[in-house]
Amino acid sequence: MAKGKKTCKILKEIRKQIAAENDIKLVVEECTYQGDCLGTCPKCEAEVRYLERELEKRQRMGKAAVFAGMSIGTLLTAAACGSTANASSSDSKCPNSTEVTDNTIHEPLAGNVVAVAPERPQPDTIIEEPLMGIVPMYHDTFSFDSEFYQKYLKEKFVFSGMGNLSILGGKVEYEHIGGKGKLCNTMEDLAEEAVEFKAPHYYGGEEMLLEALAVGLMDVFDVEKIKGDMEVEFSVNTKGEIGDVKIVKGLDKVLDDAVSSAFSKMAWEPGDYKLKEESWRLPLECRCVLKINFPIDVPIMLQGEPPVPIED
């Protein structure tokens, strides 16, 4: 089981037990996502926020929150066995106590951390290519005059020029835009040998994205009759939150607004990258463009009657 999935499973078990101990009804849906899992996602986080709200409600009613104390070691075992743990608290004050299962090889001190997202300028380039249906185009730009990137990469790559690094799917492109001095190592080396990128994507993939979009278009009258390409541009920040949604190429005012609104409510798995020699990944804020070919290939359940024109 991948580390992220295992973490997800244990955190889910903790949430279930918190709910059970505090008599909170919590319906935990099985995650069907097959891609890389970071251990949590907006759906998992939403469950935590729900539990917090329910506990607050109970506390306002005079009920104290109950935390019986769960042993991660027991939960790890349960996760490995695929069963529900009957966790109990540990009396030991020892930081690692006896529950470390692998005592032979560990990372050096403070290894394997997720680096804090660097403060960086917003990208300003849009990459376009002919697309069919709904295909995401991801891109991002790095300004290599940024001290941060110089610092991070200087041991292998010395930069003194300025340029934009773009990601389109898994392909990385570099555009030199000036600056003094010269690039001591090529950007191709950097992209192919030093850095691994992962683009942001909708949880569940494009099929689920279409379904989420279809839900958002339920109130658009005659949506199935609208044909053509729409382009929507948006940011996915390092928490997977969608922002700054713009309809670059619209089809219909009502449809454009509905699509914009639907995207604003979505949560995506954020993009990230890592230096290949390092163990941690840097979250990456990305600007994305989607081309959506209408009518989309998902049934849209219309609700209610068509709108009636308002008379003056």
Binding site: L11, A65, C94, N96, N103, I105, G111, V116
Partner: protein, 202 residues
């Protein structure tokens, strides 16, 4: 206003550096220059992201429910967290007594730092490298006199169970016999919890 440079925040760590669900917060700044350091960015005391204790608390409290349910909390690492005395003390005031706060430390800091934080911390994860001064110096570029005196002070001022001492096998720097000698000496000092492991060289 107290602030510190933080280069990493790792959420949802399970038994890696604490009893329950922990968030590892890594500070810039380290007195050592370990040959196999994975986070050399921590040596830089200029680059990074400035956090006040309030900013950090706002960011990490997202996992409070997990901390409370599992006896987890924050593990400060780095870099060297015991160089951030005021920051950690102020953070403790913000998060309250229920979160477990641990320090992953080399203990190669002035005693006054240890004294100031001892009551704030719930436990220590101490990487002593090797107890032999020459091996220690060859690997870290520094001597280990402060490590030993600080460790003695901690052991004489509280429950030894709040300490986990990491004793690494360091390829090309120490031998299995060196590690065994280090552990014997640590046991004599009163250490009861050990984490013996091998450094992975990347």
């Amino acid at each position: 206003m107290t602030s510190a440079l933080v280069f990493g925040i790792g959420r949802h760590r399970l038994t890696t550096d604490g009893e329950g669900v922990t968030t590892l917060v890594t500070f810039n700044g380290c007195p050592l220059r370990c040959k196999y350091c994975l986070n050399k960015i921590s040596w830089d005391i200029v680059k990074g992201r400035h956090y006040t204790p309030e900013m950090l608390y706002e960011e990490v409290k997202i996992d409070q429910l997990y901390f409370l349910a599992t006896h987890g909390g924050i593990t400060f690492g780095g870099g060297e967290p015991l160089l951030q005395v005021d920051f950690i003390k102020e953070f403790r005031v913000l998060c309250g007594p229920q979160w477990q706060i641990l320090a992953e430390t080399s203990l190669n800091v002035p005693l006054k730092n240890v004294e100031a934080l001892d009551a704030v911390l719930d436990g220590y994860i101490i990487d002593v490298k090797d107890m032999d001064p020459e091996i220690y110096k060859a690997y870290t570029g520094n001597d280990n006199a402060l490590v030993l005196s600080n460790l003695e002070w901690i052991l004489s001022h509280g429950d030894p169970n709040r300490i986990m001492v990491r004793v690494p096998h360091i390829p090309d720097f120490n031998t299995d016999e060196d590690v065994a000698r280090s552990m014997e000496r640590l046991k004599t000092m009163g250490v009861v919890n050990f984490d013996e492991f091998t450094y992975i060289i990347r």
